[in-house]
């Protein structure tokens, strides 16, 4: 039945059966050479090319977006830092090393139902404890609502940002500790709030280190 009706579409592949056939025994040499040469191409030539183009174009970013004060490096724009003093805005809790350890990125990896996450352990404050501390530090009522980023640890442990809601709750404390007018601090928070990138990517956020540097620079 089907022999009588040849398919209307003959594929282009009918030329291939005549192509010379590769022998298995001849493939060892290309296998070894491909492994070595293509590793050089992608592991040496490509990175060198990228360095040659990328570093002159974007020297600051290539160097890690470091911030300096005089000679000393005081941080990186992208990497969060820990702040304890009341006159600074505080970053999120961190699980990287002893907190914001730039050589040991990572999160808690605690499951949501792991009691340790909520209630803590000997040397590990749980979310309940973190929330109490946060309310106490910022002079909030014991049932005041607080944004979740203030009491959870980020995936990297190096999160440079907090939400604008989190910053807002810290404004009165920072203003008091600095003897500044609250409105001035509000203004700084507002000018350091980044809106979603290109209008639709990600969430509004405040870079803690940049905001604190701006506070130090404020008159």
């Amino acid at each position: 039945m089907r022999d009588s009706s040849e398919p209307a579409r003959r594929t282009v592949s009918s030329v291939f059966p005549e192509a010379p056939r590769a022998q298995l025994s001849a493939q060892l040499r290309p296998a070894i050479l491909c492994t070595l040469v293509l590793t050089l191409l992608t592991g040496c030539v490509f990175p060198l090319l990228l360095f040659a183009i990328g570093r002159p174009l974007f020297p600051r970013q290539a160097g890690g977006s470091l911030l300096t004060r005089g000679e000393a490096v005081i941080g990186s724009e992208l990497i969060g830092q820990q702040f304890f003093r009341p006159e600074y805005f505080q970053s999120r809790p961190s699980a990287a090393g002893n907190g914001y350890d730039g050589t040991s990125s990572g999160g808690t990896n605690l499951g949501p139902n792991n009691p340790k996450l909520r209630d803590g352990a000997a040397d590990f404050p749980g979310i309940r404890q973190l929330a109490e501390d946060y309310r106490q530090r910022n002079g909030l009522a014991s049932d005041a609502l607080i944004p979740i980023d203030a009491v959870t640890r980020s995936g990297s442990g190096l999160d440079p940002d907090i939400t604008p809601e989190n910053a807002a709750l810290q404004v009165p404390r920072v203003a008091r500790a600095r003897g500044m007018n609250e409105d001035e601090v509000w203004l700084l928070v507002a000018t350091h709030t980044q809106e979603p990138q290109f209008g639709f990517l990600g969430n509004p956020r405040v870079s803690v280190l940049e905001l604190n540097l701006a506070l130090d620079g404020a008159p």
Partner: protein
């Protein structure tokens, strides 16, 4: 907030679909060695490489020889990477020895070598305290390219097998490999990596930076040639990051834009390959049908994961805390980009997560886990995704054929008893490997010893997730599992090898059989492969077969954890 998340999700899918046609047709030109706009630059390099490497580009390979070359190349790369890892201390450059606190034991080196040559990039180590910069560049960056290109080559060969008729051969592996590198991965990675540097991804060989913080404390910040790795890890659907926190690290993924770009880099090529598939087999609508099945599955996973993660965590009720689950997530990504990334990376055998899946809600972790268990049918690994979804479609065709009592065929290829054997083996390999290894790990004390962070159903989920991830060549982890032990390094390595070479060999062997067949004419009795009904059949088959294989295991893990709390 909900609306902004969904705007982003829908923008992502719209861009993927919009790019699928032009990119898919371009990939077809690469596979068929037809002219492209890059030829004036790349043709000379191509011919020099052929001469240098002893490749005879006019030669064609049978499926057997093609598979052998795929295996030989994988083995060569794994051995080279293994040696580099073992002797990496002899390399000069940063980071200083003092920071390299994880020792590169032979089992960890073997696991890592296999992991990166299978596009799994499962990482039982933390990059910043284990590897020299030169190891990352010369070893891992190179393998990200090569394993990705080898996967794309296998995808091309599989498509040819269905496209050709009465042909003994399915292409030339070395030609496919080199063309994938030169025409696809290298140029895109050069542009993409520069965009990442612009956004802040470091590109240096500097020692770790010593910082005097503004409060007078100190902080040490890991540096490195991060940008060399971070784009190709996504484009090659590998996923292993430069740092331990992978895509969550602000140096690896500094802005929402870099994250979005990374997600596009992951999804666009595998999605476009469905168009390549339709075009090369002269059934463009069949390609679109499979792409729409993928998008439908994707949406289901996205909706479930988004719902679970955007709720205020029920565990924190009574603490007066507002907002979705942010434990293990970054503020710049929020719930939206974290969920999108979890779904995209789990779907595409990439695993470059930007949030800690261990801290996801049980129903939040369920979609990523299920997508890996289903064998990465949604988009899928670069090249591997083509045969993942087509194999699922073939199972559907077979079941459909049984129901209507006709000899099953797909795109004019008859599925006889020997073809069915390859398809059945392919479909059974994933459940066999994942469930057996999970069973062993749960019973063996060495396996349970990995549960250092979480226990109970959540701990079981961690183990199941680990083997599902390795079998799917995905590489993402619920990182609470301590997987750097001889037991896990060896068992996960078995899963990675089976998931890469076992599945590819079965798929290519089937492609060889299809190539030898003649194409059956389309008659009124043919089950059309480009209708919504067929799409529904494939969708239903994937869900049904997946549920039959894995529901009991899932019930013991995330489902019981969800119901109990």
């Amino acid at each position: 907030m909900t609306s902004t998340r969904w705007i982003e999700y829908l923008c992502f899918l719209a861009i993927v679909v919009a790019l699928a046609l032009p990119v898919g047709l371009y990939l077809a030109r690469v596979a068929q060695r037809r002219r492209t706009f890059l030829d004036p630059l790349l043709r000379p390099i191509e011919s020099v490489l052929y001469r240098l490497l002893g490749v005879r580009p006019q030669e064609e390979m049978t499926a057997g020889v093609y598979i052998a070359c795929f295996l030989l190349f994988g083995a060569g790369c794994a051995i080279l990477l293994f040696l580099l890892l073992i002797f990496q201390r002899a390399l000069s450059g940063g980071p200083a020895d003092g920071y390299l606190t994880t020792s590169m034991t032979p089992d960890l080196a073997a696991n890592t070598a296999v992991s990166f040559t299978t596009t799994t990039t499962w990482q039982a180590y933390a990059g910043e305290n284990t590897l020299r910069y030169l190891t990352q560049v010369f070893g891992l960056v190179a393998q990200n390219f090569l394993a990705g290109a080898a996967g794309l080559a296998a995808g091309f060969a599989f498509i040819r097998g269905i496209a050709r008729e009465r042909s003994a051969t399915i292409g030339n592996f070395w030609v496919d490999l080199i063309r994938s590198l030169l025409w696809v991965l290298l140029p895109l990675t050069l542009v993409g990596s520069l965009l990442l540097v612009w956004q802040g991804v470091p590109l240096n060989m500097a020692p770790y930076t010593f910082v005097h913080t503004i409060e007078g404390g100190t902080q040490i910040i890991a540096q490195g040639p991060v940008a060399t790795l971070e784009f190709i890890k996504n484009l090659g659907t590998n996923g292993g990051g430069f740092f331990n926190a992978n895509g969550a690290h602000p140096y690896a993924n500094p802005t929402p834009f870099t994250n979005f770009l990374g997600m596009l880099a992951i999804a666009v090529l595998p999605a476009s390959l469905m168009i390549t598939f339709g075009y090369m087999t002269h059934r463009p609508r069949a390609g679109w049908t499979l792409l729409l099945v993928m998008i439908a599955l994707f949406m289901v996973g996205l909706i479930v994961c988004d719902w679970a993660e955007s709720q205020p965590p029920p565990q924190l009720a009574g603490l007066h805390i507002i907002g979705g689950n942010m434990e293990g997530k970054e503020v710049r990504f929020g719930v939206g980009e974290s969920v999108l990334t979890a779904i995209v990376t789990s779907n595409t055998s990439t695993g470059s997560y930007n949030s800690m899946h261990d801290s996801f809600q049980p129903l939040g972790v369920l979609p990523p886990l299920v997508f890996m268990l289903l064998g990465e049918v949604v988009f899928g690994g670069l090249g591997a995704g083509v045969y993942s979804i087509v194999m699922a479609a073939l199972v559907g065709v077979f079941l459909g054929g049984l129901m209507v009592g006709r000899t099953p065929e797909y795109l004019g290829k008859k599925i006889g008893s020997s073809e069915t054997r390859w398809i059945a083996l392919y479909a059974l390999l994933t459940p066999m490997v994942v469930l057996v290894l999970t069973g062993i790990a749960v019973v063996a004390s060495a396996g349970r010893a990995g549960l250092v962070t979480n226990t109970g159903p959540h701990g079981f989920t961690e183990i199941l997730f680990a083997y599902a991830s390795c079998m799917a060549n995905n590489g993402q982890a619920m990182a609470g599992l301590n997987a750097n032990s001889v037991f896990y390094n060896i068992t996960t390595m078995i899963a990675m090898l089976a998931g890469r070479f076992g599945l590819a060999a079965l798929a290519l062997a089937l492609a060889g059989r299809f190539a030898a067949q003649r194409r059956l004419p389309t008659t009124v009795g043919t089950l059309p492969s480009d209708t919504p009904t067929f799409g529904g059949l494939v969708f239903g088959t994937i869900v049904l077969v997946g549920a039959l294989c894995f529901f009991p295991a899932l019930a013991l893990g995330p489902i019981v954890e969800f119901l109990r709390h």
